[in-house]
Symmetry: C2
Subunit: 243 residues, 2 copies
DNA sequence: TTGACTTATATGTCTAGACATATAATCGTG
DNA sequence: CACGATTATATGTCTAGACATATAAGTCAA
């Protein structure tokens, strides 16, 4: 279980030095959340450099959400984002092939229909419209990997009408054809019902990891998908830095 | 399920305009992974601005991992990071109080002992040494919220010997007293065994979300913790931006 | 063909200024 | 005291330069 030393080997430059100094103080707790970072002009004097140099350091810390900058007031250490969570799982096919396993895909069902009330609730739309409902299965080395139930809003993604979801998984198709701006994952655990157990080749009552993913482009829901993973075998691994 | 329009309302400035233009082309796929972004001097001419302005735009895109910059070669669209995952859950007490619920804590067991072979394997240490093993329970509004099984390496965190884990949850204590540099979460699903079901007040065989968290400081494991959440009630929500 | 050397060039960092702008703090007035 | 107007100030953005440096590409000799 070795740990990568992220980027400690790159040449130290002044702005990185400044950024690092501040970062260290934040991570060690020497500067707790809410603490005001020295003003830019103070750091200029301290490090004997121009304002643009300290500004670059502070801007990067702000982009990384470690500090918050407020006009006239100064820069402050942000509270660590409790319970804030970020999870990215873009494409199951890519995930499986990246693991060096062979990817398999079976389309179980694909229907184009007028949105039901339940569909509209799931997609967060009011008006009537058409949707595509897809059920499919992903497998790795011929072992079921995940069961996918997806809804695509055809009003938001009209191109999807011409996609061949028997040939290409909807997730991959969407990733390559439809730009998105924001997404949300919700992770929970359930026990397998008949249908899920059957599709994943596990026992009824076996644990499953469930991921619900909603994808938007500029406040418009594009697609909603629910994925069932066999819970014992599949794991989501998340590694990160920070304080 | 409304969606915050992240930062579309802020004043458009030139470097943001440039960043946005490039971002859009990447997200729409107009510039696929590997595509070379125009050189800085081309963008300077195109937008009629100084090099620092385009540099700021490109630097931010690079920091966000949307592009990769290579000296002499130029800037290139990066492959989307499939299966990359990030998850942050710092402190259960903070999580619960942030939800506006009352936090409760019960220490079930706390033992200081020489590290067993299993302990050493879990912490990734070779040498013999002392550890603290803690089992405790977190509750929200007097309903069991999570069961925690934690191991703290006393060689790495000697201060922990003086902490009172009956009064303060170990996660909170560690967060406030011990700086860390890197962590890893693994999420999986299981069904509750006797002990877990009993502690969480759920049925044996009910689904549970399991989070294993390892925390390091400079390649040294500080603590390993396993959390069981009642799977039906607890959800991890992850929201993020990007392509 | 291959390896070593040179050169051109795009990015990396930095400066010493400038004006814009949001807003905390102060001041003044009813 | 409450509230609106003013002011001071820290950050936000931008410029027109500069030199450093890694490296792709070209050059030349073995």
């Amino acid at each position: 279980m070795s740990l990568a030393t992220d980027k400690l080997d790159d040449k130290p430059t002044l702005y990185k030095q400044i950024r690092r100094d501040i970062e260290t103080r934040i991570l060690t707790g020497e500067w707790p959340p809410g603490h005001r970072i020295p003003f830019e002009h103070q750091l200029m004097a301290c490090y004997r450099c121009s304002r643009m140099t300290v500004n670059k350091a502070l801007s990067e810390l702000a982009q990384a959400d470690l500090i918050e900058r407020r006009r006239r007031a100064g820069s402050f250490v942000r509270r660590p984002q409790h319970l804030s969570a970020v999870l990215k799982i873009a494409d199951i096919r890519a995930e499986i092939t990246a693991l060096g396993r062979s990817y398999g895909y079976q389309l179980v069902q694909c229907a184009r229909r007028a949105a039901s009330a339940a569909d509209r609730a799931r997609l967060g739309v009011r008006k009537a419209g058409k949707v595509i409902a897809i059920t499919c299965r992903h497998s790795a080395d011929n072992v079921p990997f995940a069961l996918e139930d997806r809804l695509i809003d055809l009003e938001a993604v009209p191109e999807a009408a011409h996609a061949d979801f028997a040939a290409e998984p909807p997730g991959s198709w969407l990733l390559h054809h439809v730009p998105w701006t924001e997404a949300e994952h919700t992770i929970s655990a359930v026990v397998a019902d008949d249908r899920t157990a059957d599709a994943l080749g596990i026992a009824v009552g076996a644990p499953c990891l469930v991921i619900d993913r909603y994808t938007w482009r500029s406040a418009r829901t594009l697609t909603a998908v629910r994925l069932h993973y066999p819970g014992e075998s599949h794991r989501l691994v998340a590694r990160f830095k920070g304080g």
